[in-house]
């Protein structure tokens, strides 16, 4: 089964609003996760300009030796990306599912301030259920 190392959500200005790590590989402290988030935000923006193909919306997949990084950008500029083991399947569907959870349990929460770090219990509970290793395969719909 696909192993996810960590999940990041960054707001449209590049600030990290949610970080969750799921394995010992790739675990980071707060400062490092903030750095990765702003680094990825900048790289994503630059890649839009550098692309040889017009109409490019930014990097969707980064493949390296020891990990894959899948990124999904919503129409509003919020980016969801997941660092997982190489060759992991159904990550795009997982990211879209996380986006659905975000629109439900974060955006419909009256106590959530836009662009601020996410502190919503329901979001955490549902995300944990979605990411359990043996469930990821079923999200491929």
């Amino acid at each position: 089964m696909a192993a996810i190392y960590s999940l990041y959500i960054i707001n449209k200005s590049g600030g990290l609003i949610y970080y969750k790590d799921y394995g010992s590989a790739g675990r980071m402290d707060t400062n490092d996760s903030l750095r990765v988030a702003s680094l990825w935000h900048s790289m994503h923006a630059i890649s839009q300009q550098l692309s040889p193909v017009s109409g490019c919306l930014g990097i969707e997949l980064l493949q390296a030796d020891t990990f894959d990084l899948h990124c999904f950008q919503s129409l509003t500029g919020t980016k969801f990306f997941v660092v997982c083991e190489p060759g992991a399947q159904h990550m795009e569907n997982l990211l879209k599912f996380v986006y659905e959870l975000y629109t439900d349990y974060v955006l419909k929460n009256p106590f959530y301030e836009m662009e601020m770090p996410i502190r919503c219990e329901l979001f955490d509970i549902n995300l944990t259920q979605a990411v359990q290793k043996d469930r990821v395969a079923f999200l491929g719909r």
């Binding site: 349990y105 419909k108 929460n109 009256p110 106590f111 502190r119 219990e121 329901l122 979001f123 509970i125």
Partner: protein, 189 residues
């Protein structure tokens, strides 16, 4: 004119029949509207107690109107005079119309004579809401408590209605109880 069907024109809007209307409304649309209601009230108050009261008052207005509508539509303009009758009306008919299902349970309080409880695993209005830790026992279900109070008041059964979270063993999320405490004059059998 060719093709124009016969549409009965009503001179007075009050003569038009009261239709069943759309049975369903988008849950997301309601969730956003309710979220905005809560956020707006948060800006107007200084403390949580006041916020609860404001939500309750908003619900009270809904309850009063729902009672009138349902009495006309579903009960044939008959007035409910028994306590258990009005409680089961709230528990079944009102819940069905507002939330699409009957409430999970209706119980009589064990400690006091005039207390009743309607319980739900998760109130529809709370479906997407996570209360921050620093808000303590605040429950947006105060809106629903207000609706119940509006219905009961309009029907002639004044009561104090509040919404509470009741933690359940083995469940991550607490269930919600609407506690109804009837006024003195109601409980004279």
């Amino acid at each position: 004119m060719i093709g124009v069907g016969k549409i009965k024109q009503y001179g007075n809007v009050l003569d038009k029949p009261l239709t069943k209307g759309k049975q369903e409304v988008s849950l997301s649309a309601f969730a956003f509207l309710f979220s905005e209601l809560v956020q707006y009230n948060q800006t107007q108050v200084d403390n949580i107690g006041e916020l609860e009261r404001r939500l309750e008052d908003a619900g009270y207005a809904v309850g009063a109107r729902v009672l009138e509508l349902l009495c006309h539509r579903d009960k044939g303009n008959r007035r409910e005079t028994r306590l258990l009758g009005i409680l089961s009306f709230v528990h079944s008919t009102v819940w069905k119309v507002l939330f699409g299902k009957v409430a999970d349970s209706l119980e009589k309080g064990t400690e006091h004579e005039d207390e009743y409880m309607i319980s739900e695993k998760e109130l529809l209005v709370n479906k997407f809401i996570s209360i921050p830790k620093d808000m303590g026992t605040f429950n947006c279900g105060a809106f629903v408590a207000g609706i119940v109070r509006g219905v009961l008041d309009g029907a002639g059964f004044p009561a104090v209605v509040t919404a509470h979270f009741v933690p359940m063993e083995g469940q991550q999320r607490p269930r919600t109880t609407i506690l109804i405490k009837f006024a003195e004059e109601v409980h004279c059998h």
